[in-house]
């Protein structure tokens, strides 16, 4: 599946490893939460990057203590209308300050890209369609945002405050 990241389709640099698979000697690994919890110490000790696939039923707290060591968190949309990962994403970015790759996997629809980006996702396994076109269309759809997230986009309220400061009060 093409990985949409930074507005481009890129090679996935990560190797997804099943729970029973032998671990390769080196290379960036994507493991399940279950495997991480079972082999945490040895995985932490590896020289290469670690990524974790977090089920949308798992609390973000399960990996919070290890975010310093984790460079990829893959969150899941088992069905596109199961929106739990939006909250997980915001908690990871905004509460825990997670700065690694945050990837949306599962049934990811083009019409959700902007919502996901606003919640902190920066990589997407797009279920169908032309990824770059979809991305460019999605992020251009709105220029006004009402609620603050961790994405840094100024909200309508912030813009109004700024306008009030620079204009004399009525």
């Amino acid at each position: 599946m093409p990985l949409l990241k930074g507005g481009r389709v890129s090679e996935d640099a990560w190797t997804a490893v099943g729970d029973e698979d032998a671990l390769p000697d080196s290379g960036a690994l994507l493991v399940t939460l279950k495997r991480w919890q079972g082999e945490r110490e040895s995985l932490r000790a590896r020289n290469d990057a670690i990524g974790i696939r977090l089920p949308n039923s798992a609390p973000v707290e399960a990996i919070a203590p290890d975010l310093d060591r984790i460079e990829l968190v893959a969150l899941e949309f088992p069905k596109f209308n199961d929106g739990r990962a939006f909250s997980q994403a915001r908690q990871l970015r905004e509460r825990y300050g997670y700065a690694g790759e945050l990837r949306a996997t599962g049934q990811v629809l083009r019409d959700q890209l902007l919502f996901m980006a606003r919640c902190g996702f920066d990589a997407f396994e797009l279920a169908k369609g032309e990824p770059v076109k979809a991305w460019e269309a999605a992020i251009a759809e709105f220029s006004v945002f009402y609620q603050p997230t961790g994405d840094g986009r100024p909200t309508a309220r912030a813009l109004r405050r700024a306008a009030a400061v620079s204009t004399p009060a009525d």
Binding site: G83, Y146, T149
Partner: protein, 551 residues
């Protein structure tokens, strides 16, 4: 009322453009129905029994004349000449074409209305007291808070795919006209010991299959924390609400399963990580929004209007209308007036394009250009000078909007039912029509006094029958329409769910049954007692006997 600024205008235009493109892709087959459906629902477009139905949001029930005219335009141009006002202060058009929906939405966007999030598993229209800003018993005008909630919830990226729909209601008055206790989140403004105004926060109220009264999880929330606290509740729900069973996915089920105390704990824990941040409502933020809700330029008027008093004494029809359809106002010399959309033999809550246009004119002439939608499916002119009431009454009478029955037995709240709705198991509108004909005599209607009949055509309870004084629920028994009768419900600050009276009654018999209930009430009541209190006092026995023994 709130005036869109440039940012709001840009936003709603971008939204229309986005939807236009989504429709284009759907019609071209680039989007399947499964993929398109949640997008369509996020713009309030249902596929209903006869056609697409568009539910337009009327934020907290407030409209200006220009918006009314745009609604009339949509009814005339894109629909079949009428609209239906709903129990959540929205308006529905039943015959919209998908390929014209973007045009209709564009016409509405021009005047700052939209259909965003009136459907789907999203945060829906926040509703409030239809007398907000004018009711004498008000602690504070809830509308600025409703506007802040509206903006915060509009296309909120985290909450676009909740387990299920989410409804918030706010009351600024101790007398709750917004039914906050049967909403997913109910907010009740009140003062603490220091006199500071804040919110009591209730969670997990709702009707439908499993009606429940909301539970208080926060007795007093200072106003500035409102949005961050709501965000905490929604996040807890988004993560923990059930997604495996459509009928157990509202927040009320979560609250019921874990208990109010545990719910409060989870919300507090989440809130602790986000409070005092970007969502805090500063005094400036509030002032900027509240500016839109300042009082209109009321004239200095005496509390007593000689013109009114003369007319009241000389015209019994006017006197009767005045008694039931006008309401006390904060400002001396003014009243709030309700326009009844419940004429005898009419479909409850419907208004023709011509009537909507006429109401726009009347709003400009008599009420500083503002109209409200009440959740009982009537309209309100909130700021009418007492001196103008006789002229207003005559103008309303000429267009069929002066039925003097507000809050009375023929002011029936009804969902559209099986005549329009694919979910319904029985018809509701013809039952309402027949009831209004049975209770057509106005003297009798006024003698019976305050009595709320609510009719739902199916278990989803969009007619709010659980909280009707008399509730009717349409069911299907062997392919025929029957109606369960409940008594003793209330939607106000003493919210209570009605109790089932007995076996469901057939379509042909239900009007007789309701009449017997009403007659029993009138016979047994103490002076000034409403039905719910009579039922409490006497129990269901006399009513059961009246309905079933005589059958």
């Amino acid at each position: 009322m709130y005036q869109y600024d440039q940012l709001d205008q840009v936003f709603v235009r971008q939204r229309v453009a986005q939807f236009r493109d989504q429709v284009r892709r759907r019609l071209a087959g680039e989007l399947s129905e499964d993929e398109f459906k949640p997008l369509r629902l996020m713009n309030g477009l249902y596929l209903q029994l006869h056609a697409y139905m568009l539910r337009v949001a009327i934020p907290y029930g407030v409209l200006n004349a220009a918006q009314m005219r745009a609604l009339a335009h949509v009814a005339r141009t894109y629909d079949r000449g009428y609209g239906h006002f709903t129990t959540r202060q929205n308006i529905q058009f039943n015959w919209i074409r998908l390929d014209q929906a973007p045009d209709a939405l564009e016409a509405l966007a021009e005047v700052g209305i939209h259909a965003i999030q009136t459907s789907g598993n999203t945060i829906r229209n926040t509703t409030t007291d239809e007398l907000a800003g004018v009711a004498p018993d008000e602690i504070e005008d809830p509308r600025p808070w409703c506007e802040l909630i509206r903006q915060w919830s509009t296309l909120h990226p985290e909450f676009a795919f909740l387990p299920r729909k989410f409804k918030i209601a706010v009351t600024g008055s101790p007398h709750d006209r917004a039914a906050v206790k049967v909403h997913d989140i109910g907010l009740r403004m009140h003062r603490d010991e220091t006199g500071e105004a804040g919110f009591e926060v209730l969670v997990g109220g709702g009707l439908g299959r499993t009606p429940m009264i909301g539970k208080t999880i926060k007795g007093f929330l200072p106003k500035r924390h409102l949005l961050s606290y709501l965000e905490a509740i929604l996040r807890v729900y988004n993560l923990a609400g059930r997604r495996d069973n459509l009928y157990k996915s509202r927040i009320k089920i979560l609250v019921h399963d874990i208990g109010a105390a545990a719910m409060a704990e989870r919300v507090e824990a989440e809130w602790a990580t986000i409070r005092d941040g970007a969502l805090e409502v500063s005094d400036d933020d509030l002032a900027r929004v509240a500016r839109h809700f300042v009082r209109p330029p009321y004239a200095e008027r005496p509390a007593r209007s000689e013109i009114l008093e003369r007319e009241r004494l000389s015209d019994a029809g006017f006197a009767r209308w005045l008694k039931s359809n006008s309401f006390a106002h904060k400002v001396p010399g003014y009243a709030a007036v309700k326009l009844s959309l419940k004429p005898v033999d009419g479909p409850p809550g419907d208004a023709s394009a011509a009537q909507i246009d006429a109401m726009a004119d009347l709003a400009e002439r008599f009420s500083f250009g503002e109209v409200r939608v009440a959740h009982e499916q009537n309209l309100v002119l909130p700021d009418v000078a007492l001196d103008d009431l006789p002229a207003l009454w005559r103008a309303l009478d000429a267009i069929g909007l002066a039925t003097p029955n507000i809050g009375l037995v023929s002011d029936i709240i009804s969902c559209p039912g099986m005549d329009y709705c694919a979910l319904a198991t029985a018809r509701s509108i013809p039952v309402a029509q027949r009831l209004t004909k049975r209770f057509a005599d106005l003297g009798r209607v006024h003698d019976i006094g305050k009595l709320h009949i609510n009719i739902s055509g199916c278990i989803n309870a969009c007619g709010h029958h659980h909280v009707g004084h008399i509730g009717l629920l349409g069911v299907d028994k062997g392919g025929r329409e029957f109606y369960q009768i409940t008594l003793g419900g209330r939607a106000d600050e003493h919210a209570a769910l009605g109790t089932l009276l007995g076996p469901a009654v057939a379509y042909d018999d239900v009007v007789d049954a309701v009449e017997r209930v009403v007659e029993t009430y009138v016979r047994l009541r103490s002076p000034g007692e409403i039905l719910v209190d009579t039922v409490k006092r006497t129990g269901l026995g006399p009513f059961k006997e009246a309905v079933y023994a005589a059958a």
